[in-house]
Assembly symmetry: C2
Homo-oligomer: 341 residues x 2
DNA sequence: TATGTCTACTGAACCGGTTCAGGGAGCGCT
DNA sequence: AGCGCTCCCTGAACCGGTTCAGTAGACATA
């Protein structure tokens, strides 16, 4: 039925071992023999059997991604699909596959990594949504699974990181708003247990103080539309109501914008709004959203490259991707001279 | 290092074969011996080696999903992440893994299936986004990969389908609008090469004629925000401008709604709008979107169950999931007595 | 007691590769 | 001629399971 290395060996009149050497480009066969073996293999239509290769070489030829997210909320995050697509563009060139796991809880997440390790399903993993004091670093070390992290965690990590600075974009948003005359700029952030939730808040804080402004109100939300709405409602209720709000992602910004409009406020005349991610929808909102592109496609591609070269024995060095630049659209405008109340 | 079946055999004082029989619950060992072997295996902490199992049993213990979508647009579709999460909830209970592939073009898609087959990466696949006259049916048959399809394709297919009727929801949207006095109801659909693009258009058409109305304008768009906007612009430019538009997904509906608002139209006073999917954001738009839930989580879970039972040798029978019901929110309202122009 | 049947188990082949020890041939050097 | 070295290749072990043919022993049957 299927052609094995044995068939090739027989047809070429050599031993199994010689065929293996020839096919893998290893020394141990003369150029003549090698060429003959390769020709015979081609003629017979030989294809390597991945399972056999896996068993004897103790490799999976696959990398893993564990997405820890409430399944019901997973669909709302535009990051992952594009990120996965980026990973794939790299993997497909290297005959690697992607094994994807979705974990609903922290326990399920740990279990997922343990399963991947126990079954040797993957040769390495990519860690996203890095958390402050992330327990996965130690877990993966103990499981002896190589990894690549998105951005460098604050705790010591032996794994290379692929970094994309998000503080610059947030700082640019603050500066942009300040230049428009805003002084009360609030921030609706993501969970502060995530390093990207935290770094965006700090970026906002620093940019505010750099501009000589008080840091204004901060609300910790959860990257969901519902959370964005609730946070917006709270900010707009406050006595010193902000004239501009910087959101940590587009989804919250969109919900916030819709909510403000439903109160009769005009964006950007009464309230300026910025997001983060630059989702496709951002351009098509009314008004279109000022935001910062996240480029998950690039991030995924580079992270996979980094992981593969790590698996190939390359030293673990961090890679820095260019910082995304603020995209100004119509959701930001001059600060109102007399804010509505 | 790791405990193998050999170690267990030696420790239990039996042969390798006996251990295999005992661990797999097969006949050929006495109850006493079986129990002893199981105890020893437990004591030694034996874990089956998936790679060895794969090689000798010629199974991959994994299922595949090939997503054919432009990577840049993948992030905009809320269906996939939730669908994948649904698949996972089933797989995780059966020690199966999910191998995910993203293909940008039709060629890449076919290649992806061929790769999965050549490498025997998966034991079966799930087909989404079924197309009219879908070439994948024949391809998978020739590759001898079992499959499950989402909805039954029109061409003869030997694979079981997991069906969720989307016509009922669209019909309900039409009836809802008709009851509000609308007579000019347009439809912005997905590509008609997809069966769900087609079935939604036909559902709209049928419901219109059932209500005694002319089928109004239809625009074939592409499920993207940009496409939704362009289609909306075209509809609103037309002489017999619709007072309501039924979109084939939320993303296009959202873009359409924003566009209409940017023209100075009020939703729903001047234009009623319905979507499809019931994404998280739909609730938080201004106004909140009347739409039809798609329940990708359930769909994924059931599709995976169906595939696993097919792999287990069960007969290929279609499964019908309950039809989702229209969710009425504020983007639909009474038809304007004197439509704005 | 001889024969047949069944159960419980063993030993080895097998899945399809990788890898390693070892051996024969050819060559250069003394 | 004898020695050592390198090159090329073979045969077998190995990865860790599954599976099958064969066999020893217990037991029933004639």
């Amino acid at each position: 039925m299927t052609v094995t290395i044995n068939d090739v060996a027989q047809a070429a009149g050599v031993s199994k071992g010689a065929v293996s050497y020839a096919l893998n480009g290893q020394p141990g066969v003369s150029d003549d023999t090698r060429e003959r073996i390769l020709r015979v293999a081609r003629e017979l239509g030989w294809k390597p059997n991945l399972r056999a290769k896996s068993l004897s070489s103790a490799k999976a030829f696959a990398v893993g991604l564990v997405v820890a997210r409430d399944p019901r909320l997973l669909g709302t995050d535009p990051f992952f699909p594009a990120f996965i697509a980026g990973i794939e563009t790299t993997l497909v060139e290297h005959e690697y596959a992607l094994v994807l796991t979705v974990a609903a809880s922290a326990d399920a997440e740990e279990l997922a990594y343990r399963k991947l390790a126990a079954d040797s399903r993957v040769d390495g993993v990519i860690l996203t949504d890095m958390r402050v004091d992330d327990s996965r670093i130690a877990l993966l070390q103990s499981l002896k699974i190589p990894a690549v992290t998105l951005n460098r965690p604050e705790t010591t990590s032996p794994f290379p990181a692929v970094c994309m600075d998000d503080t610059e974009g947030i700082a640019a948003a603050v500066e942009h708003l300040v230049s428009l005359g805003h002084t009360r700029i609030g921030h609706v952030g993501g969970p502060q247990s995530y390093i990207h939730g935290r770094s965006r808040r700090l970026a906002w804080q620093n940019a505010m103080s750099k501009a000589g402004l008080e840091a204004g109100s901060f609300i910790e939300a959860d990257f969901t539309a519902a959370g964005g709405l609730a946070a917006t409602a709270e900010l707009l209720r406050s006595a010193q109501r902000p004239t501009a709000i910087i959101y940590a992602n587009d989804l919250m910004a969109t919900a916030g914008q819709s909510y403000a409009q439903s109160l009769g406020l005009t964006v950007p005349d009464d309230l300026s709004i910025t997001g983060y991610d630059d989702t496709e929808l951002a351009t098509y909102l009314n008004p279109p959203l000022t935001t910062v592109p996240a480029d998950p496609l690039l991030w995924g591609r580079v992270a996979a490259q980094q992981l593969l070269s790590l698996l190939g024995g390359a030293p673990a060095e961090d890679i820095y991707l260019p910082s995304p630049k603020l995209v100004v659209r119509a959701s930001t405008g001059p600060a109102p001279s007399m804010p509505k109340n």
